[in-house]
Subunit: 677 residues, 2 copies
Amino acid sequence: MGSVDTTLPHPFDPLSREEIENTIFAVKKVHGDVYFNVVSLQEPRKAEMTAWLEDPINAPRPKRLADVVVIAPGGKVYDGLVDPATGQILSWEWAEGQQPIITMEELQLVEHIVRKDPKVIEQCKISGIPEEDMHKVYCDPWTIGYDERFGSSVRLQQALMYYRPELDNCQYQYPLDFCPIYDADKQEIIAIDIPKIRRPLSKAPAFDYHPAAIEARGGFRNNLKPINITQPEGVSFKLNGREIEWQNWKFHIGFNYREGIVLNNITFNDQGEVRPIFYRLSLAEMVVPYGNPEHPHQRKHALDQGEYGAGYMTNSLSLGCDCKGSIHYLDAEFPTRVGGVRKIKNAICIHEEDAGILFKHTDFRDDSVIVTRGRKLIIQQIFTAANYEYVVAWTFHQDGTIQPEIKLTGILNTYAMDPEEDTHGWGTQVYTGVNAHNHQHLFCLRIDANVDGPNNTVYVTDATAGEAPVGSKENFYGNAFYNKRTKLATTGEAKTDYIAQTSRTWEICNPNKLNPYSKKPVSYKLVSREVPPLMPKEGSLVWKRAAFARHTVHVTKYRDDQLWPAGRHVPQTSGEPSRGLPEWIGDGTESIDNTNVVLWHTFGVTHFPSPEDFPVMPAEPMTLLLRPRNFFARNPVLDVPPSYASTPSQLLAKGQGVYNAADKLSKLAFETPEGVD
Amino acid sequence: MGSVDTTLPHPFDPLSREEIENTIFAVKKVHGDVYFNVVSLQEPRKAEMTAWLEDPINAPRPKRLADVVVIAPGGKVYDGLVDPATGQILSWEWAEGQQPIITMEELQLVEHIVRKDPKVIEQCKISGIPEEDMHKVYCDPWTIGYDERFGSSVRLQQALMYYRPELDNCQYQYPLDFCPIYDADKQEIIAIDIPKIRRPLSKAPAFDYHPAAIEARGGFRNNLKPINITQPEGVSFKLNGREIEWQNWKFHIGFNYREGIVLNNITFNDQGEVRPIFYRLSLAEMVVPYGNPEHPHQRKHALDQGEYGAGYMTNSLSLGCDCKGSIHYLDAEFPTRVGGVRKIKNAICIHEEDAGILFKHTDFRDDSVIVTRGRKLIIQQIFTAANYEYVVAWTFHQDGTIQPEIKLTGILNTYAMDPEEDTHGWGTQVYTGVNAHNHQHLFCLRIDANVDGPNNTVYVTDATAGEAPVGSKENFYGNAFYNKRTKLATTGEAKTDYIAQTSRTWEICNPNKLNPYSKKPVSYKLVSREVPPLMPKEGSLVWKRAAFARHTVHVTKYRDDQLWPAGRHVPQTSGEPSRGLPEWIGDGTESIDNTNVVLWHTFGVTHFPSPEDFPVMPAEPMTLLLRPRNFFARNPVLDVPPSYASTPSQLLAKGQGVYNAADKLSKLAFETPEGVD
Ligand SMILES: [Co+2]
Ligand SMILES: [Co+2]
């Protein structure tokens, strides 16, 4: 009898440093000095992986493969597939006319070049900045998105321009009104977009958020007493490599340059039966379209994950700041441009939190009661997309609910304005001379379903009033209502939008397995209410490039490598034709009934800035739920020990036998403090 | 110069025990032995109260008054107003044909009478329960709601029937199929509703949630390590009587039999300026309509607050169970039926929680960073409405956001079913023989606005694409969008519904005060996404009785005593005409522009039960936000001390001066546990 070699990486593990290095070495050997854009795990083919997960001892172990993107001299882009163990290059293809993700290193370069460019210097002078102050000029380089004047074959960035009177000033309060365009291959500024109406540099006093600025304005508040959160006996989760087990959940925590956290093979141990739920969950793409129609603001519609990478932009988290309590961290490793490896320490944090009351019931007759507290497990990363930060938390509840949560913080993207100027409603003056444009943050959650097995069907469910009128025999009092279920049989039918009037939800069902009591198919339900439609119009540039955002839900049949709904290489796509989802859906006739389905869900917020968001934004949360419905035969958390439980018979016996595990450290707020009495 | 007498109760304080006793004494003296239904603070007239709040030293102190409801022999109901200090009865009126709130004591009585009633005993026999087992028969008495056969003049309850084979069994798994009707004045069963198709008592084995049942099924999970939450230096809030101060917030915490927690005179200290926001916030009413049209299930549509009272039904909370950490409690006192006073100890809990990241920004150039953690303050109660529990939390954030949150837990209302029976989609079999009917939980949040003063105007705001088409000069790339604001000028116009397509919000503005930067009126915005429409149809019984639930938002002009949108006395209202809001709104022509407005907001969930909810439901949360928009001139939390902050110049100086207040108690998850190394 064989056994699983536990010294090998799990097939879902990100490439190790050694694997990245081996891959780079192999590529360099054949292709010389190229710029490394991506060296990342190509996830195992699903068929192979599923076979191995089912029988890791006997099934062949999926091979480790490196998905490689390089930029060769002259700006030629190549997609490659490399075996890191052998160095064998399995494929190597020119990605003609395509631009891969922009790396942080590429972004960093632009500012230096902008500062020395004579045309930029001239524009700065017009804005009121003398040449000797060019070191005070900053830019946030963004991929150009798409600009029809320049096409896709030259790798371009647009430099959103700012000024810092002092080194520590927040630059976003001093935006400049022009926008240089940078050629990444030539490393030079090839054009500048200059608005017809000029807006001079703001002369408003700096309004900063750093401690010295706060001190100068009166100092920090001093009335916050510490809240200590500790786990003296350790945490309740276990890790085996990157596989975590907690409260019946088990899954693998991956991470890549693009999506950041990837959760694979999510299962729930239902009283001894390990039941699969999702094969893979990730934030697969996002788009942040800005609503000012003035040229060139239409170019501000970052597809942050496809264009910059939620992994590449992720923060190194620090204990007691980003995360509090008992924390486990995982690091991330990525290639550098010239072929080194950089490590982001603490890229992912993992911790538990108290989640308040899990369930409670009191019998009003005798006050017999049960009260049980809940827990949650949080897998979190934070990434910085130039001005904004995104806190992405994958929250697992004991009851089988998965709750992706995103908090938005950081700084508004800002543009120069004359304080007397009319913003025409496309933005808000958030500080003197600072126009923050309307925008949306739309995320695409990719749900590779595996609800009790790979063959699933998606239904929309709509709360619907009984058809019979008030006064009729069937509905005399008019109170009848039911949950109307509509099968999404094809990819075309599955393009669906949220309907508030019916509290619409989507059920990912396994039609092959019925709940023993309800006789309904076992399912996980998508409950998501923060689902603004894409505001850019049908046929608009954003609508074409970020096609995933056209609907609240799309469903496709699973295919390997259909991971990213705006396409593999996103920068400078024109949207003609649209990449990703529309390609995969085609004419919409493909059946998605009782097969391996992937559900793509767009959610987010429409953000009309206000001065409260300035100069740095208090975190704004958004969330959704994936809830088991008809999945379990009963409440799956009944065996969580209660804090307190009494039964009628115990109360009749004067409290004998009452279960009391109340938290002993809890105290009355105005008791004598610890150590003082 | 005068001073404020701090020994007197605050005018918003609930009646003290002494005041309740004095009132009862005064009433008994004149009216003899009556049943006390309500003895509760009549809140001060607003004009008087506002004058006093503005100048407590010189303005007359609003008088303490007791709002009294009694039931005299023969079932005659009287509304009275009593001065508890003098015992003077200021008014006394017969509430002809009206039924006041049902008290817990009234509910308790019914079960005893049901068990002895020969007609009930006979029905139990038909269900399979022998007469000697009548002590195992239980009922949840509900007000009859409205039944046109019986009208409103006789005080009635309907007894939802259950059985417990053993004393500690959860009765909701053994529902009986008939429904006795109880006359509260005669204290007898006057009728029984018997379904045409009988459903015998379930013979399924008991499936309980109490510890003995869990032990019998394998015991509790033992893999949860403690999470300790402590505040060794005490809490960050202060209480002066029932007035709380925390993080610039100040407000009074009231409590009454009806709404439970009432928050009054909510202000925010904005850098020294105390700015009013809301005069009064409460959950003013709710309705839980069930969707099975079969008679008599239409009667299941509890208006729990008006019919039973979120105060009367509130739980006595316990430290380390319902609440964890450093908790302050407030008690509640209510009259008993015969004129005593009962105390609910710990009716309200108050505590702080860590709220994760408040704001963060990293400069990608040099990793200079600020990260600041947030706090929240929670004012919470839990009430038990027969089978269900409602956890109501009023959460205050440091950034000026108020977040009412409700968690639903407890037990589904259940009805008997033949396991082979077709539920027709009106319910779900959640366990053998147990049909849980579809229902909604709709809450009415009453917002008495005071945004920088009493004169406010409400706007709806709708995210709207620019009108110009793609390709036009004004919107060439099609990305234009703005926030369309529509004034709700009259009470008729203000009947508005949520629109998901426009991410609709409501702004309560003060049109007399503009934000210095955005030049928009200061406002608080209602952001609420869990807003199902009332499922019972227009013209239905529920639609008539719970008229507040017809729209997501209603707005009225403030008037004293217009507190409860389904009317003052809710049980047995026919809805013809509808009480409360429709009466106040009338023809809808009244102006609500730039005046003292009250916004009534309906939110909640539509609940299609599933076996996961059985036998007790994991808590299901719902929430909404009241957010300052254009209210503050800037982010109001910049002075919250960060966990960590570094500036570019500090990093250039090799970290000198960096602000580091990271939580020192945070630990790596797999470090050696405390006290072991
Ligand atoms: Co934003
Ligand atoms: Co419910």
